[in-house]
Amino acid sequence: MDGHLLADEGQFGWCLATASVPGTSHSRRELPCQDAYKLSHCAIGDEVITVLLAADGAGSALHAALGSEMACSHFLDYFEAWCSSHSSICEFNYPTALQWLNAVQEQIKDASESIHANINDFATTFLAAVIGSSVSIFIQIGDGAIVRDDPDDEKSYCWIFWPEESEYANSTHFITDARASDHLLYTTTTYPVHKLAVFTDGLQRLALHIASKSVHDPFFEAMFTTLEQHCSESSQNSEWLASFLSSNAVSRRTDDDVTLLLAARR
């Protein structure tokens, strides 16, 4: 876990678990896991912000794994710098997210040029959940999803952005696209988040009902129940989650890389 942002590591009042396992079709094609993720905490003013990030490198992109890793690292660095020059999370807004997007594209472009590659070789999706004590910010480009506890119904969960409608099952948007800013999804909430899940598209069909555009509550109920059972363990004991994501039950239903980050307020 990248916890270098705060001196006092710990959970800051959260149960956390993260895991990422390569897809069986990736192993068959001798591709590494092309998902990346980060979970960290940042201080701003009196608040501790919890940041959950995931990115899914495009299967055909030569440097996909690098692209997804860069997207996450860059955002964390950017956000850390932003926190140190602002006094409240409420100051973060859509233009800030756009500025980040431009900056990360620049960085990836530079990296690509230095190895005589193309920016599209680093194509990746990106999901970010920035959770404060009451305000939270969500940013996304491409598929995958962010799910939170439903503020109106403690037994339910709701999605933040529905995976964008594109005609075909296997097309999505990437942070490296020329028109990425057209597809930058951004929203905030003032309903405090108690439970949060961030996942790349490998889990979409297992956790969401496509036809009705809704969240499959039992999946998240099972995840958060198990998360709470493991809460007293070390800050990120995610072995149970990695084991679950590698299980037959999951790999029978998806052969893509699966990445899942879970956070529940204690």
Binding site: G59, A61, L208
Partner: protein
């Protein structure tokens, strides 16, 4: 795939095992329409090799569990233009046995194929089913006996709008000049009557696409590689 007899931790202690925890979504579909020339000139060995190829295709695609649920196959023959098999998942696809006779109304056949693809997409949309970009895979050994320019235009437009992917394979004797005007990508000349290899390539390609949540552009094996089943027509 044989089930392991070893106790799998997840299923016994970590996450309460209940298949209900997973959402039940229909599989995304990968539709492929086979547009096959069954005109008189295909009589004899060509049509019997084609029939054998179709049987092999059925077997091969079923080996892949995920592909058999996702790939959908329809068969339209010409001439006359006839829908021999409407779209159904590979799991249940039974190739019709084709016989050769008749002329080559390629224009009408292509128009029919495009219209069936559009109808299928509508059906998917009405049922909340996701799908991959459909394929039309045409095999012919002759020249169109009807007017084909309008159909060619429709193919070009559909390709431009990324509505379909159209592949043309000519058996020896096919009119490649016309095929080059119809198909956006270079038509292929089948090596002899290697339908078996053609259909192996097709089932592998569709299989790869049906597994792809990875990428839009799935790299396909090159049929015109040395020892490949085709050359550029």
């Amino acid at each position: 795939m044989p089930e392991s007899f070893e106790q799998i931790p997840y299923e016994h202690s970590i996450v309460p095992y209940d298949p209900q925890i997973f959402a039940d979504n229909p599989e995304p579909r990968c539709p492929c329409l086979l547009l096959l020339d069954t005109s008189g000139s295909m009589a004899g060995r060509p049509i019997s090799e084609l029939n054998a190829g179709l049987q092999a295709f059925k077997q091969q695609i079923r080996v892949d569990e995920l592909a058999s649920k996702r790939v959908e196959v329809a068969v339209v023959t010409f001439g006359p233009v006839k829908c021999e098999a409407d779209f159904q998942t590979a799991e249940f696809f039974e190739p019709p046995t084709l016989s050769a006779a008749g002329d080559t109304p390629m224009g009408a056949a292509i128009a029919r194929a495009l219209s069936m693809i559009n109808e299928r997409k509508s059906t998917y949309r009405n049922n909340g089913i996701e799908y991959y970009r459909p394929w039309i895979f045409m095999i012919t050994d002759g020249s169109p006996t009807d007017s084909w320019r309008q159909a060619a235009e429709q193919v070009h437009k559909a390709e431009k709008n990324k509505q379909v992917q159209f592949f043309a394979v000519g058996v020896k004797g096919a009119n490649f000049e016309i095929l080059r005007e119809i198909s956006v990508r270079a038509p292929l000349l089948l090596d002899g009557l290697r339908f078996g290899d053609l259909f192996t390539w097709l089932s592998n390609s569709l299989g790869a696409i049906s597994h792809s949540s990875l990428t839009e552009e799935v790299p396909l094996a090159n049929p015109t590689a040395p020892h490949g089943w085709a050359s550029v027509g």
